[in-house]
Subunit: 217 residues, 2 copies
Amino acid sequence: MAEGMDKADLLDLHMLVEHVGPLRAGDHVFREGDAFEAIAAVRSGTVKTYTVDRDGHEHVLGFYFPGEVIGLDGIHGDRYPCNAVALDTVMLCRFSFPKISVLATQLPGLQKHLFRLLSRDIGRAALLAGDWTADQRMAAFLVGLSRRLAARGFSPNRFQLTMARTDIANYLRLAPETVSRVLRRFQQDRLLLVDRREVELLDRAQLDALAEPLLRD
Amino acid sequence: MAEGMDKADLLDLHMLVEHVGPLRAGDHVFREGDAFEAIAAVRSGTVKTYTVDRDGHEHVLGFYFPGEVIGLDGIHGDRYPCNAVALDTVMLCRFSFPKISVLATQLPGLQKHLFRLLSRDIGRAALLAGDWTADQRMAAFLVGLSRRLAARGFSPNRFQLTMARTDIANYLRLAPETVSRVLRRFQQDRLLLVDRREVELLDRAQLDALAEPLLRD
DNA sequence: CGTCGGGTTGACCTTCGTCAAAGGCAGTGG
DNA sequence: CCACTGCCTTTGACGAAGGTCAACCCGACG
């Protein structure tokens, strides 16, 4: 959902970086209502962000992989508006936000970069809005993961679903059973192979075609 | 969807206002791609904004009543990102955006006001996102209309649906037939009376209860 | 070996979209 | 004044998609 910092920016910033981790699965990076003082780039592992509504139901907002940035949605307040939790072993870099925003006023490239990161995160909402079918949502989710992982140097066709089925379902606003059934049917139709949390995309063209109406815009 | 300008702001601005109208039903205020040079406050009548996707399908974005402001979503580009069309006889005031934005740098209240208008418009998306039932969407639509009209001095319980059923359906992402059926059922259940485009809300408590999960946030 | 949490599967049912047809109001022209 | 026509709306019948419920499976771990 978020585009990472490139090498040049990391060089500019390496003096105000604080390395954090390793966090274990279930550890929180920050919680809703915590004072907003830093954003963080994932170095390894997967982070899930979510909120809990007043009925106690969890709402998964997004998943973040190495190179991606979490905490940006705290910018417009002094508190984080959501929780961030490690799904596996996670390493990250914290950037003090006061320091980075001062720096952004001096580095025009950095400010532009931050705005891009923000708007990228907003576009994520396209997955949720609209009345897409379960197949389209699932395909868009997988294609989106694949592209993001590929952009980070991972294999675009074989990867791990580090999040639970219930998290995927919650994120896509589907029932967990539906996620299970769609994956099974995709496998029957030779679109992919899935074994536990391991996925291999086979028919990329067809998955792209399914995902296209969600990912364009 | 947008909060209007209050009296004090109108006084501040009355020198750079251009009165437009009357427009007849079907006349366009602006079209997608037109150069963005002004925002406009509706003085009377109803305006619908919409886009047309590359498959030729219309997507209704919102409805605007007297006191509400259209064109704000053009701020981040030099072109309007959508069409705005009059649904009935419409009068409006155009505010040159270059002039207003210069003024905003001098009047702190105005700048804050513009930001509030913007964020209010963004919150509208809650109606579309989420997997709400047809009943919830319809109730939220009616309660939302009622509140906005009441804030402008109109009756909160009796009002005209100035837009076609197909527009309501498109906006709520429902089939027109579903809109028709939900309204009929609401009437059977004594939640409201509806005759053609005239609506009277009867059981406000129950409608509020239906709409509540959509309108809170 | 038992238990526990996540995942899968099947049966069922609700909701809503689609299709087709008919009703009603408005504007037009005879 | 009255057909005629076109558009919006309603209504009914039907079907597909996906949620719910319940049971079962299976790998992990004590």
